[in-house]
């Protein structure tokens, strides 16, 4: 090997070793996978937990679908909090989560939002003039109704209220609910449908109306330990189900998980 190449090769070998050192350095505390709409509240609960017990947990937030796919491909998550039952069922069907640990953690509500400057009034009910409310060319901002939980709930609610067909061509689908929220907050879309908790976290939007709970399947965040969970992850799941965490969820606008349907 010639002289000038030698340091370069050494550097490349060092680069190969890097991921190993990183993995070794971050091996403390269980990894929790959670839906993006829980970002703010779970970080608070995690900080509380560390203060009270001295034990750390690590979070990875993302769309429920992305996280579920990662767990399916062997991600080292120990606890999963999803934004809908469908993906949890998907993992349960593949025996990737512990059935006995599965529980419905919290619930949420669906709201119609507008930019804070908008003066629009609309009552969410069957036969509401939603298309007229969008104006000439306004768009309705949703999370992707084909795949993202918030979008699926929104589609179900609009269908139940008989408004889906007239607004279907006006829908702008985002890959997660926070992006759908951003389009309304920036005034690019005159109306959007998001979770109440998202609307409360964004000062640039105003809640126009809440969807009646009967208009869509109950919004539930199921949690379960994965098959490679340890005792620390189980302890954190218990903490998440306790009263201290409950207070954090309440403050953020989450509602108690609805009773399971027969």
């Amino acid at each position: 090997m010639r002289g000038p190449l030698r340091p370069l090769v050494a550097l490349m070998l060092l680069g190969l070793a890097w991921p190993m050192t990183r993995a070794a350095a971050t091996a403390s505390g269980p990894l929790v996978y959670a839906a993006a709409s829980l970002t703010d509240v779970l970080q608070q609960v995690g900080a509380d937990y560390q203060r009270e017990t001295g034990k750390a947990v690590k979070f990875s937030f993302g769309s429920t679908a992305t996280l579920a796919r990662q767990i399916e491909s062997g991600a080292r998550a120990e606890l999963f909090v999803a934004a809908d039952q469908e993906w949890m069922n998907h993992l349960a069907g593949r025996a990737l989560v512990r059935r006995a640990s599965r529980r419905d953690l919290v619930g949420n509500r669906l709201v119609l939002v507008a930019p804070v400057a908008s003066t629009l009034q609309l009552e969410v009910a069957a036969g509401m003039p939603l298309r007229a409310a969008l104006g000439q060319s306004g768009r309705l901002s949703l999370a992707d109704p084909a795949s993202v939980p918030a979008g699926k709930y929104a589609k179900a609610a609009l269908t139940a209220l008989g408004a889906w067909r007239e607004v279907e061509s006006r829908i702008v689908a985002s890959d997660n609910v926070r992006m759908a929220l951003l389009f309304v907050a920036r005034g690019e879309a005159p109306l959007g449908i998001v979770y109440l908790t998202d609307a409360q976290a964004e000062p640039r939007v105003r809640v126009v109306a809440e969807f009646p709970p009967g208009s869509h399947p109950p919004i539930v965040y199921p949690a379960a330990l994965t098959t490679n969970a340890g005792a620390e992850a189980a302890a954190f799941l218990e903490y998440l189900s306790g009263t201290a965490a409950r207070r954090r969820f309440d403050a953020a606008g989450f509602v108690p998980a609805p009773m399971p349907q027969p």
Binding site: D144, S147, S174, E188
Partner: protein
Amino acid sequence: MLSPAEWTALVASLVVGARAVVIGLPLAVATAWLLARAQFRGRALLDALVHAPLVLPPVVVGYVLLLTFGVQGPVGRWLDSVFGARLVFTSAGASLAAGVMAFPIMVRAVRLSIEAIDPGLELAARSLGAGRLDRFFSITLPLAMPGVIAAAIVGFAACLGEFGAVITFAANVPGETQTLPLAIYSALQTPGGEAAALRLALLSLSIALAALLLADWLGRRARRWTARP
């Protein structure tokens, strides 16, 4: 073989990419010429700006476009009030986002081939009395043709693959801005959507490979053509 929704995504991709290249290529050629041949103040700044999309996260590019060309942004508001044209959430907007991302790739390809031209040829034309535009169109552009063709095709392929900037600026509207990568993403987000995602992935792989092979073949042809005495 493909469902109607997948056909729609394919057609939307081709439209978005073609529009971005038709509008972007002349701009890319002009920019490449400026960077390769012209001396002016702020040249380094222009160079950096052109290359910015290459090194910025695509989400940032999409967000900057949203701030600028959104209905509430300065340029977007002007376009809306003067022409009644809206870019955000439209196919044209997807072209803008994809085109901005592919622009540095197009400029690079053209610039390299302009820089490879012997400046003596341009000087000779000048000494024979050819004006600036005349020199550009009869000497520089024909000699740079392999680079221009490569820029068009690789730029088109890059537009087909653009994800982050498009979804951030133009969202995921089937039939308008839902290009192949966005359709693949949507399919993967659906339980049991792997088969559709795999089909679409193979489809975009074949388009990209075909485009690269075509670029290579056309480039060799063009070089042979320009090499003729």
